[in-house]
């Protein structure tokens, strides 16, 4: 059986990759993807802890998180379309109507 720490390190790395993506990438769709990676890193953590403790709670929570992530993605992509119509650009630096 693979020890818990392997899962935790993997999910920590995924979470860090997602966080770095939000700060470093220069395309708003990639920013959305980075947030999704963060949420999936958390899902992995929940499943790993659930298995370690022998309860199904961790896996049940994952379903809720996936639902929330889907709803969030829908709103996020809708906003991206509204933004793109106005500026014809996906670079976050093009959106400067408000001081960052």
């Amino acid at each position: 059986m693979i020890p818990l720490s392997y899962y935790l390190v993997l999910s920590g790395a995924l979470f860090a990759i997602g966080t770095a993506g939000v700060f470093l990438r220069r395309n708003i769709i990639t920013l959305l993807l980075s947030v999704e990676i963060m949420l999936n890193a958390v899902n992995l953590t929940f499943v790993a802890f659930g298995r370690q403790q022998g309860v199904v709670d961790g896996q049940i929570i994952t379903f809720f998180v996936m639902t929330v992530a889907a709803a969030e993605a829908a709103v996020g992509l809708g906003l991206v379309i509204a933004l793109f119509r106005g500026r014809e650009s996906l670079n976050p630096e093009a959106f400067t109507a408000l001081k960052w």
Binding site: V22, V68, G78, L83, W100
Partner: protein, 479 residues
């Protein structure tokens, strides 16, 4: 009447049904047909208020993860009041600015559902789900003027940072689940109290991640960057709603988690929150002074107010807990009224939210200028307004727990903040504008709502003891 399994969620059900009815009514509406959608929303909200009052002192629980203790009901009444006032103020503006009425009211109601559940939740999973219900609705409300470049940009920034923050919050919940094997607040509290967890890196990581997640939602430094942009880009009435409702709900859940389940770890998290509260109060005030846009200025003012609220959590004593509730009530009334005045004076084409636009307001709208003065004095913490009493209680709680420096920093920053509130008052009354604009007509219902709100601000400022006793009594049963 026997207690049924659904008792604790009756207020939430009222608001949810109203939201669904509004959505259905909108989809069956013929073009050009007028429908009293705001009235439908008001019915649901008032029903929820009645349900909250009837549930008082009953300590109902549902499904093992929703509670209707007096603490939750107190905060829910604040949130519902904010909702009712927002609907009353919106009636006229939604029509004037051509906002999609059905979507507007439905999203408003669903956001309120999320807020109420977040306060009532006694399970971290439900806290997360309620937070998302609230947040997703508010993201869309922020960008409800979808042809407006500033509105969509604000909505996207708010959305991106909000989603980012909820990932942090969820990661924190995952670690707490890993350490304690449960997501229920009572269960976590039992495990944390039974074992000494001080050196456990996993629980410290969980606490740090929860502080980041809630810090974003409440808008404290250094997680505040989204709030001036979101507050400026959103329609003013939505700003008033989200600066009070979202903050009240997030703060109440934050206080519930940290002062009940994680109370045994107070020596670990109190110093962190001390620092966050101090920087938040200072930065919110200092940057606020430099703003030239009234909405941005009030955004920084609300950041500073989040700092004062954190002082109550850091103090963590009985006075502090009651003070948080009183502060939320006072702040909610004041900020809703302030942003409502901005919303009534500005249209989509001419937002009129620059400080200069308020010069000589006394000559065009004497009543609004008078009401705005009281609102600004309350935000600044002048007697005899609600803001003064609220700050007084927060600072005396800090002194009571021995946090003298925090009280001093809070006092000094509120003295500095008086400068920027008074500057607007002086502009409204003392300066003249060369080209006086044609005064916008203001709906009578909105004026009546504003007058009632301002009367309530003065009532809380002059005779606060009833509400303070209620706040103290409602919190003493919980933690």
């Amino acid at each position: 009447m026997g207690t049924s399994a659904f008792d604790a969620v009756i207020p939430v059900i009222c608001v949810t049904l109203a939201g669904l009815v509004v959505l259905l009514a909108e989809s069956f509406r013929k073009k050009q047909e007028r429908m009293p959608l705001g009235g439908l929303a008001l019915i649901g909200l008032i029903g929820a208020v009645i349900a909250c009052v009837l549930l008082w002192d009953r300590n109902a629980t549902s499904f093992g993860m929703v509670t209707a203790d007096n603490y939750a009901l107190f905060v829910n009444l604040i949130i519902l009041t904010v909702g009712i006032l927002t609907v009353v103020f919106s009636q006229h503006t939604v029509e004037r600015d051509g906002l999609p009425a059905g979507e507007y009211y439905a999203l408003l109601l669903f956001a309120i559902v999320g807020m109420m559940l977040m306060v009532q939740a006694t399970d971290l999973l439900l806290v997360f789900l309620a937070l998302e219900t609230m947040s997703i609705a508010v993201y869309v409300l922020t960008g409800i003027r979808f042809n407006d470049a500033r509105g969509t940009e604000a909505a996207f920034k708010y959305f991106l940072l909000g989603a980012f923050a909820s990932a942090f919050l969820l990661y924190g919940i995952a670690f707490l689940f890993g350490v304690t094997g449960t997501t229920s607040l009572d269960g976590i509290g039992t495990v944390v109290a039974a074992q000494s967890m001080s050196g456990n890196p996993m629980i410290l990581a969980a606490i740090a991640l929860l502080i980041v997640g809630f810090g974003f939602k409440v808008g404290v430094v250094p997680f505040h960057q989204w709030s001036p942009d979101a507050y400026e880009g959103a329609p003013a009435l939505v700003t008033g709603f989200m600066s009070t409702g979202v903050k009240a709900a997030a703060m109440a859940a934050f206080a519930r988690i940290f002062l009940s389940s994680l109370e045994p770890m107070i020596t670990d998290w109190a110093p962190v929150l001390w620092g966050v509260a101090a920087i938040t109060m200072i930065l919110g005030t200092v940057v606020g002074v430099a703003q030239t846009n009234l909405k941005r200025m009030l955004a920084y003012s609300s950041i500073a107010h989040a700092g004062y609220l954190l002082v109550g959590i850091v103090a963590g004593n009985e006075v502090g807990k009651a003070a948080i509730l009183f502060y939320l009530a006072a702040y909610a009334l004041t900020n809703v009224a302030g942003f409502a005045i901005i919303g009534l004076l500005g249209t989509k084409a001419a937002p009129n939210d620059d400080l200069r636009d308020y010069a000589g307001l006394w000559h065009t709208h004497p009543a609004l200028a008078g009401l705005m003065t009281i609102v600004l004095l309350s935000l600044g913490g002048f007697p005899p307004t609600a803001g003064f009493i609220a700050k007084w209680y927060i600072f005396s709680a800090a002194v009571g727990s021995g946090y003298y420096w925090l009280a001093i920093i809070g006092f000094l920053s509120s003295v500095v903040s008086v400068f920027f509130y008074l500057r607007i008052v002086v502009m409204m009354f003392m300066t003249e504008r060369d080209a006086r604009p044609v005064p916008l007509p203001v709906a009578a219902s909105a004026m009546a709502g504003l007058a009632v709100t301002v009367a309530a601000i003065l009532y809380l400022g002059i005779l606060p003891s009833r509400v303070i006793d209620l706040a103290a009594a409602s919190i003493s049963t919980v933690f």
